[in-house]
């Protein structure tokens, strides 16, 4: 066990954790933020995607020690008021069915849109192929990402 400081969503958390513990469980069990989901534990489904210094990482295979001194952003901290273009597009297109995978989908999509503000279908497929949606809402995920791209161009995201 070690004392670890994690900066999640701009807030410092002082945690006692095994440095080998995956970031996912530090976020969920120790920091108590439940938006980031467990799906497979082996970096196959993308339900656990968070941003580590702005990069999309699979928190289920990222050791918590790797996140110290970095900025972790989870779905809860993606925006104030649920207002990131990806979140708004997801609401407008009414993407989710069961909803479980969508924290990870949204976090992956947010990085895609920062890297490629105007992605093609191919760009979306390439970037989102690591996120499984068991309910099969993929067509709406594509549609929502295009919509988010439009929204972002009208009102760019700060920071």
């Amino acid at each position: 066990m070690a004392k670890i400081t994690l900066n999640i969503n701009k807030k410092d958390y002082q945690l006692e954790a095994d440095p080998q513990m995956p970031l996912l469980w530090a976020i969920r069990d120790l920091a108590g933020l439940k938006g980031t989901k467990y799906g497979c534990g082996v970096a196959q489904c993308g339900a656990c995607v968070v941003h580590l210094d702005g990069e999309a990482v699979r928190s289920c295979v990222t050791k918590v020690s790797r996140a110290t001194g970095k900025k972790v952003v989870t779905i809860e901290g993606l925006s104030e008021n649920n207002s990131h273009p990806v979140q708004k597009a997801w609401q407008e297109v009414d993407v989710p069915q069961c909803g479980y995978c969508h924290s990870g989908q949204i976090m992956s999509a947010a990085v895609l849109l920062r890297e490629k503000p105007n992605p093609t279908d191919q760009d979306i497929d390439d970037a989102m192929a690591g996120n499984i949606c068991r309910c099969g809402t993929y067509l709406r995920i594509r549609e929502a990402i295009h919509k988010a791209a439009e929204m972002q161009q009208k009102a760019p995201v700060k920071g």
Partner: protein
């Protein structure tokens, strides 16, 4: 307007009461006042059988809270069911908030999510709940304004009178609670609908996109421990001994023990399926600590041998079921199925004289189809929270059928049902898997043992290798054509491990003079359960592929071939108990034919396959347009036609059909679980292939037949025929038929 006096007079009571702070709470209890409803009636009438009711709260500040009775697993009932109430209540949807109800069968009815039944079984009682509340609000306004109630109208949550008087529902709610419950209700006619049939957003979408703790795995209380179960590595095994010394030295670990789920002779209900009865449990403080420490367990496993389960039967008679002890492998299972397929089977239906017809046929086509075990793979693995004391039990988690879980729990804990509280969290998928609540019972027993609140959690590997799979199936179809290429006889003989897939009274039964359906089954220790459209999800693949091949042999267009058979089934049906309505079946085929421009120029780029199916009271047809992409078959475009009666929430319904199409394509190409010596050969998404975004169609165009028929289910019906349409398109693309799921190019299985 429809007068719906009958149902209320006979079968329901409505009860209103004041909430603290003023407001109207209206409860419609459907049948719950009758201790023993007439049995035959209760079983034969779906509305009544379900023992339904609804729940409405209106506060003085004009908030309308609607309680969703049924668990939500992505089928969007938390939106569609309250829409039904709001429609008849004539509420302004903007003022409606929705809450998931607790398990409370007296107030909320059957509360069962499964069998594509939610909307179908709640349609009538929820309309009545809304209409009764609206009537009481009108009465309250009439008394207040001193005008005849007949002159009080409503519009979007406002009471109106021609004198210019008006009041919001909230203003009259308190008074309405004192108004006698109406004995007669008027329900709207479909053309008066203002909420139903108008797309509404998922009432929880904001919570989902902001990561709110909606799911069972997110549920937590102070002092909650985490539990996991180390189940045997193979079906047919059990724990012999274990050494937990190293595990117990690990940080955060509280206890390791063996717990028996069902005592010997425990009478299991139909959904009490469990794969392993002796549970090696590890309990600790946090998920990671338990996961990590579990790896340090030293366990010795042994063959469980042949077991006997006691299962509750119909008419209250229990029976013993023998569970074989062998460690099964897919290769030996296939051999076993081949042996069984050659033996006489149980006759399920016979029309005419199929034997003679086959003997006299000009041409006989015979094909055998196979489907493997499938894992549900819900995105949220099985889990449940339990806090059990000597006096009471609180449970919370993902569950499709709390009404089936509770009696089992009451027996296991020796607690009366009123001391058991079950809360339904939003489910991260269900697909039938969460109708089997063994994990809830396991959590409860663990909590009782460790005397603490506990979250039982399955890892992905635990979940995928636990069982309750879609069974392994096979079916051999035979068709006899006369010299004029007419279909004169049809024979299906299907089997499975451990159940056969045959629906004997489905199409083409009723459309062929000589018809025979037979089934056989092989017992197994590999547990099985409902998987999105049970049995249908295999039948539709096999039968619809076969019909495609028969149509081809008859030299007919596959849609026209089916339509001709359906015409026959309508005009001069063969036999009895045909489950489907030929007109509605034909309707979806015609709709998908027209929308896809079937047989018309402009689609030359595509290899097209069509299939249709009826199950769970609804009708579905798909045209799948396939191309070759990077040398692989790719479904680029799909047209779907559905007939499920009135569509409550069109955009969400479209989403569900699109999802079912994607699920069907994924399982057609990739879905498979094989076994070696009882060990499932896949345990995570690294080896169990799931369809991903780069593999789904560019478009899935969904069309609904427009009619005013009472709504039926949509979660399952679109799924099964996808397999058939994919198989038929593959034949066009590859020039050969695919008889074994998943469809792929490799040495073909022998049965």
């Amino acid at each position: 307007m429809n007068n719906d006096k009958n149902a209320l007079d006979r079968r329901s009571f409505l009860k209103a009461s004041l909430l603290s702070g003023g407001g109207l709470m209206l409860t419609v209890s459907w049948l719950s006042s009758f201790k023993s409803p007439h049995k035959a009636e209760a079983l034969n009438l779906p509305d009544q059988w379900s023992q339904l009711n609804g729940y409405i709260q209106i506060t003085s500040d004009n908030k309308i809270k609607l309680i969703c009775p049924n668990p939500e697993f992505g089928q969007n009932v938390m939106t569609s069911l309250p829409m039904i109430v709001a429609e008849e209540l004539d509420a302004d949807w903007k003022n409606v908030v929705v809450e998931m109800g607790p398990h409370d069968p007296v107030k909320l009815g059957a509360q069962f999510t499964g069998g594509s039944n939610s909307v179908r079984m709640y349609w009538k009682p929820l309309r009545e709940a809304g209409a009764a509340a609206r009537q009481m609000l009108r009465e309250a306004a009439a008394q207040t304004w001193n005008v005849p109630v007949g002159e009080v109208t409503t519009k979007a949550g406002v009471l109106l009178h021609s004198s210019g008087k008006s009041a919001k529902y909230g203003e009259m709610a308190s008074k309405a609670a004192g108004v006698p419950v109406p004995k007669e209700l008027k329900l709207k006619s479909p053309k008066e609908f203002t909420v139903v049939r108008k797309s509404k957003k998922n009432v929880e979408v904001q919570k989902i996109t902001s990561g709110k703790p909606l799911f069972g795995l997110d549920y937590t209380v102070d002092g909650m421990l985490i539990a996991m179960i180390q189940h045997p590595p193979a079906f047919g095994m059990k724990v012999k001994s274990f050494d937990a010394a190293e595990t117990l030295k690990m940080p955060g670990i509280k206890d390791v023990f063996i717990l028996k789920l069902y005592e010997d002779g425990f009478e299991q209900g139909g959904f009490d399926t469990r794969s392993f009865n002796e549970l090696l449990v590890i309990v600790g403080n946090t998920t990671w600590e338990v996961m990590n420490a579990r790896k340090k367990l030293t366990v010795s496993w042994e063959s469980a041998g042949q077991l006997k389960d006691t299962v509750a039967g119909r008419d209250g008679k229990k029976r013993e079921v023998v569970v074989p002890g062998a460690l099964e492998s897919t290769t030996t299972q296939m051999q076993q199925m081949q042996d069984y397929a050659a033996k006489p089977a149980q006759q399920l239906r016979k029309d005419g004289d199929p034997e003679t017809a086959f003997k006299n046929a000009a041409q006989v086509i015979e094909r055998t189809y196979n489907g493997p075990f499938l894992a549900h793979n819900c995105m949220e693995p099985m889990n449940f929270f339990a806090h059990v004391t000597e006096e009471k039990a609180l449970l919370a988690g993902p569950l499709q059928a709390p009404g089936w879980a509770e009696p089992t729990l009451a027996k296991l804990l020796n607690l009366p049902p009123e001391k058991i509280e079950i809360q339904m969290t939003r489910m991260g998928g269900g697909f039938g898997r969460r109708a089997y609540a063994h994990y809830l019972s396991e959590a409860a027993l663990i909590s009782r043992k460790v005397k603490a609140p506990v979250k039982l959690m399955y890892t992905r590997e635990d979940d995928m290798t636990y069982g309750i799979y879609r069974p392994m199936y096979t079916a051999t179809y035979r068709a006899a054509l006369d010299a004029n290429k007419n279909l004169i006889a049809f024979h299906v003989k299907g089997g499975g491990i451990p159940e056969h897939p045959i629906h004997a009274n489905r199409f083409p039964a009723g459309a062929v003079d000589n018809y025979l359906a037979e089934g056989w089954q092989i017992p197994s220790n590999i547990t099985i359960g409902a998987f999105r459209a049970p049995r249908s999800n295999f039948n539709a693949a096999a039968e619809q592929s076969f019909l495609d091949e028969v149509a081809e042999a008859a030299g007919k267009d596959p849609i026209e071939f089916r339509l001709a058979l359906l015409k026959r089934a309508k005009e001069n049906p063969v036999g009895k108990n045909n489950e489907y309505e030929p007109d509605r079946y034909a309707g979806v085929l015609q709709l998908v034919r027209d929308k896809s421009n079937w047989g018309k120029p402009g689609n030359e780029k595509f290899h097209r396959g069509v299939a249709a199916y009826f199950c769970h009271n609804s009708y579905a047809a798909h045209v799948v347009d396939m191309v070759s992409r990077d040398g692989q078959p790719y479904v680029e475009r799909v047209y779907s036609a559905m007939d499920c009666g009135i569509v409550i929430n069109p955009d969400a319904a479209t989403n569900m059909v699109q999802g079912a199409v994607v699920d069907g394509i994924g399982n057609s190409f990739y879905g498979e679980l094989t076994f070696k010596d009882g060990v499932p050969q896949k345990n995570n998404f690294s080896n169990y292939r799931m369809i991903r975004i780069n593999e789904v169609p560019k478009s899935i165009e969904v069309h609904f037949v427009e009619n005013d028929l009472d709504p039926t289910g949509l979660g399952e019906p679109p799924f099964p025929p996808v397999f058939g349409a994919v198989a038929n398109a593959l034949h066009k693309l590859k020039g050969k038929r695919y008889y074994n799921q998943p469809f792929r190019d490799e040495p073909e299985k022998t049965i």
